[in-house]
Structures are given as structure tokens and as C-alpha cells.
Assembly symmetry: C2
């Protein structure tokens, strides 16, 4: 008898089984999860192929293709004793969609790999992802499933940059540009603090909003596209913390910055606003603040909030005159 051809961790030979695969096996699960995802995103377009073949086939977009990916790991990106698997699914898809939006592009399709221990409630995880998929009009067209010791969800999103305007990178800011943010910050970190029982705001409506900001963050897709239309010079989404993300934009652009103020979400602390991360608001640098305000007003979007301006000395990075430390969250792997 030959040895088993592979490590048996989480795998088993299927033997003789019904033609849709064994219950609990990969084929049966994929078919089931595809239903959950399909209900949220509608049928594939004519000539398109979504979940179920070796690869998905979709129409190539008119314009440039934008590609982003993001991983969400249980215990790192989400504490599953405080939030649900559905929240993890929502966040994984939303974070990748936000990256596409931060170039001024529109997301089109998502691919998902789900790695999880035996017995994980994949329905809940997928339902949260399906909600985000519907919210951002970004159907999940394919994916892969694997056993793992820990829940790891990886989402890749393809999007389109329509029209001739360049993408809004991190690298375009110039001295003198005004720096805006699309909304107040620190809500996600404050929501996590509340979930941990670390203190309340005394206002249950505000608390609910903070917890929601942590569990179901929003991607600023309209705002990103509007900033590009308004000729913004540089843009980044606040995923790891305003401070570190602003430093990244300044690094890429070769500028410094002077911030006068940072908008703090009601109930959040200044530290949470500066280095909490996962707010997914967009930081935008522009030479033409009037155009930015005008396009946002036209679109009925919340007016962008000015925080300060870019300066020529790239080593000069301040908030209210004091050096702004590069705080935020970096994965440390070595």
C-alpha cells in the first residue's frame, strides 16, 4: 500500500461519493457559499463565468485595470471574541475595495481565499462578505478554500480607472498642497475599546456608531472618485493609522507636512484618531481645494475636512508645531 500522497492535515480522500461531492467536502461547500454570495450580487453577465470553474471570465474594462489585495487574519485584524466572523468577512472585502477607491478607481470584481479550521462557520463569514459585496457593487466571482489552523481571509479586487485622468497615487503631493481627510478619525479604534469594555462615552447612539465603525467600516469610493475628478495630487486610505499613512504619502511624494488639526470622531480619543487605523477615510492632497469642495458638493458628499498643508522640507512633519511621530500599526515579521 503506498503512503498517503500528502500531509493529511484537514484533508481526506473522498472515496466514492455523490457527484456533487461529499457533504462537508470542498465541492459541496463551494456550491453552498456560491449561493450565499450570488444572492447578494446577482447573476453573472452574458458570456461571463463566475464561481465554479478553474477561473472566472469577465469583460475587460474600458480603461486601466486596478488591482489590490488585502488579508484579514483572525487574532490580528479581528478579535473573534469581540466581533463576528461576518464582521471579518465584511472587513476583508471592504479593505481591499478601499485600496482600489484610494486610487480614484471603481471596484469591479473580487476573488476570495478562505482558509479556516474545520468547523468554522463559513456561512456567517460569507454572509458578511456578501453584504459588503452588495454594498460596494463588487461581486465575488471566484475563490479558493483551504483548511488552516487560523481563519485567514484574503481578498483580491480588480477595478477600473475610467477616462484619461491619471490614478491618484501616494506620490503626487507638492509643497503648498492642502491636506484634507474625508471624515473624522479614530472611530474604529474607539469602537474596539468599547467592545473590550475599556470605557463608554455616556451616549449610546455615539457608542453604537463607534462599534459599527469597528465592525463594519465603510470604503469611501464616491469620495475617492470625486477627488480624482477634482484633480487631487495624492491620496491614501487610512488603514494603519493617520500618522503612519500620512508619513507614507509624504515619503512617496518627497514632502513634509504641517497639520493644524485632526478631526476626531465623537467619542474617540486624539490618540485613536492619530494611530488607531482601520477608519478607511481618505487623505487627499490638492493644489486646488476649491475644485475639491465643488466636486464634493456637486456629488452631495460630506465636505472634506482640511488638516494642514505640505511643506518642502521632507523631514519637517508636524502637528500643531510638534513633530508627528510615525505611529500606527505595522506588521512585524522579522
Amino acid at each position: 500500500m503506498p503512503p498517503k500522497p500528502r500531509p493529511a492535515v484537514g484533508r481526506s480522500p473522498t472515496g466514492v461519493a455523490d457527484p456533487r461531492g461529499e457533504p462537508g467536502g470542498e465541492d459541496a461547500i463551494v456550491a453552498h457559499l456560491a449561493q450565499i454570495l450570488g444572492a447578494a450580487s446577482g447573476p453573472a453577465g452574458p458570456g461571463e463565468i463566475w464561481i465554479g470553474d478553474d477561473a472566472a471570465v469577465v469583460g475587460a474594462p474600458e480603461g486601466r485595470l486596478v488591482l489590490a489585495t488585502d488579508a484579514a487574519v483572525a487574532g490580528v485584524h479581528a478579535d473573534l471574541s469581540l466581533v463576528g466572523l461576518g464582521d471579518l468577512g465584511w472587513k476583508a472585502l471592504t479593505a481591499a475595495v478601499s485600496d482600489v477607491g484610494a486610487m480614484g478607481a471603481r471596484p469591479l470584481q473580487a476573488l476570495v481565499t478562505l482558509c479556516a479550521p474545520f468547523g468554522t462557520d463559513l456561512d456567517a463569514l460569507t454572509a458578511g462578505m456578501a453584504e459588503a459585496s452588495a454594498r460596494w457593487a463588487c461581486p465575488v466571482v471566484g475563490g479558493d478554500l483551504s483548511t488552516a489552523d487560523q481563519v485567514v481571509v484574503s481578498v483580491a479586487v480588480s477595478g477600473v480607472l475610467e477616462g484619461p485622468s491619471p490614478p491618484v497615487t501616494r506620490a503626487g503631493a507638492s509643497p503648498g498642497d492642502l491636506i484634507f481627510v474625508t471624515g473624522p478619525l479614530g472611530g474604529s479604534a474607539a469602537g474596539l475599546r468599547l467592545l473590550r469594555g475599556g470605557g463608554g462615552t455616556g451616549d449610546s447612539g455615539a457608542e453604537e456608531a463607534l462599534v459599527r465603525a469597528h465592525r463594519r467600516p465603510e470604503a469611501r469610493l464616491m469620495e475617492g472618485a470625486a477627488a480624482r475628478r477634482a484633480g487631487a495630487e495624492a491620496m491614501i486610505d487610512v488603514s494603519d493609522g493617520l500618522s503612519i499613512d500620512l508619513h507614507r504619502m509624504a515619503d512617496a511624494s518627497g514632502v513634509g507636512f504641517h497639520l493644524d488639526s485632526v478631526p476626531v470622531a465623537p467619542g474617540a480619543t486624539r490618540d485613536e484618531a492619530l494611530s488607531g487605523g482601520e477608519d478607511y477615510e481618505l487623505v487627499v492632497a490638492t493644489t486646488d481645494p476649491d475644485a475639491l469642495a465643488a466636486v464634493y458638493a456637486e456629488e452631495g458628499l460630506r465636505p472634506p475636512i482640511v488638516m494642514g498643508r505640505c511643506v518642502a522640507d521632507r523631514g519637517d512633519r508636524r502637528l500643531k508645531g510638534d513633530p508627528l511621530p510615525r505611529t500606527g500599526w505595522e506588521h512585524r515579521l522579522g
Copy 2:
């Protein structure tokens, strides 16, 4: 002092640091890995943006867009006591590329998420991925990095289906179609057996080939494109085992099959050929075997090997007259 805004697993505030991020921090690692990947794939095209911004921007392909993703998990897809992290990186990218090739499409770009414990040799992992990226002309244009308890590599590949011919799905096979495979099977499983010390073949050249088939499998991209050009009806790559993958093609097409023979890689067993998986050879069903042979000959490809034919009764699935069990590997998650 506010509570830490996130679970601290594998994360740390970066504090005041140099503008490229702290050594060992995410920004520094990404910059370093981008160099390893860039050396293998050359510079981005004009107007393109690869690793380093929120998302990558590339030209949209002429034709339909093909999207596939695959996860490789340490301990599940690779036993790291037997193979290297570079092999895991190679395999993750190759498996996703193979899925694109199995539609008859050409891979264009890859996105990668690397999730790994602190101290993982990401250089080795990335070097293997860079080799595969160069081999399949599929640059890694973006990615994401996270800490995790276990190495999980997820690769998403975008590709193009050029010209008007339809993609070759799993679903197009008809009764009477001949079934081919692009090469002998079981090499990967036999290579793993050898690595485990479960027995040798008595021929070191053959042993080396088997071990290589396990560690560095090849994607049959030319063969997939040639099958599409030759008007093949259905196609699937052998990732989980010939038997289960053939059943999947037959399920999707609504047919049965009678196999007369299965080509076994030298030194592999018949069981390894039937249910070992990870060979990434392509199974092709066609009504026009002469066209298939002619196109393969034109391209200088190894002639496809006939295994049998499709039959009308979808429940009738045989090898040499005996029912063929649905053996192979499915991830079991519930």
C-alpha cells in the same frame, strides 16, 4: 492612557522612526521583497504602477479578463519539513497561473498576500515566487503582508482571453468526445513519497524528476492555449487528483466517461496517478482530436495522451470497465 486600539498579536506601534519604516517593520519588508520580485519580472510598463501604492494600475487587456486565486497553506499544501519555503512560494503562484491556463487564457499579473509567523524567512518564500513569476511571465504587481500563526500564501492572477474563441470551461464536454491529458500523472505524489523516505525507484534521475515534480510543478500554459485554439470542448487542470478533477469536469458537462488507460509518470504508482493531485497537467475533452494533435505538433508541444471518451450516461464513469471512485483531495471544513 487609552487601551491599545487593536489586538497586539504580531503588531507594534512603530513610534518615531526613519522615513522608510523601522527595520523588520512592514514598510521596510515590503520594499525589500519588492526588490526580490522586481529583479525577476523587470520594470513596470509606461504609466503602470506596481508594488508600493494602495493598488496597482496596469493596462486593461484586449479581450476578456480571466481571474483566478489559490491559497497555499503550510502543513496542508506543503510539508515544510520536506520542502522549502521557496517551493511553497513557487507552488502558490504556479497553481493560480495554472487555473488561468486551464481556461485557455494567458496570465498577466499576480497579487500576493503573505501571512506568516514572526521570523519566517520571507526572502526564501519570495525568491521561489519570483522564480515562478519569471517562469510564467506573470509579474507580482501588488500584495499585502500580515502576521499569522502559520504560513498562508494567497495568490490572485489576472489574465487575458485573447480573440473571439470562447474560454474552455469544465462544462463543454459531449458524449463521444475523446479525453486527453497533457502528460503522465502521479509525479508530484511520488516525489512527496520519496521525500518522506517511503521508498525509491532505484533510478536517481527518475527520482530527481519526481521530487522536482513535487517541489516545482509546471503549469501547462502553452498546452492550454493550444487546446483552446484547437477548439477543445472542456478542460480542467489536475490539481486535486485526476479522478476527482475528471468527475468535476463530467459533473459540469453532464456526461459520464470510459477511460481505457491513464499515463503514469515513471516511478509513480497507479494510485498516485489517479488521486495524488498537484500534477497540473491538463485534461482536455474534444470532438476533434486531429485538430488537437495538429496544433500541438505545430507548437512543438508533447503530443496529448488519449485516455478514453465521454459517454451519455452521466452516472457511468469507468476505468477499464470498473467504476472510477471519486478519489482525490478535498478540503474538509464541516
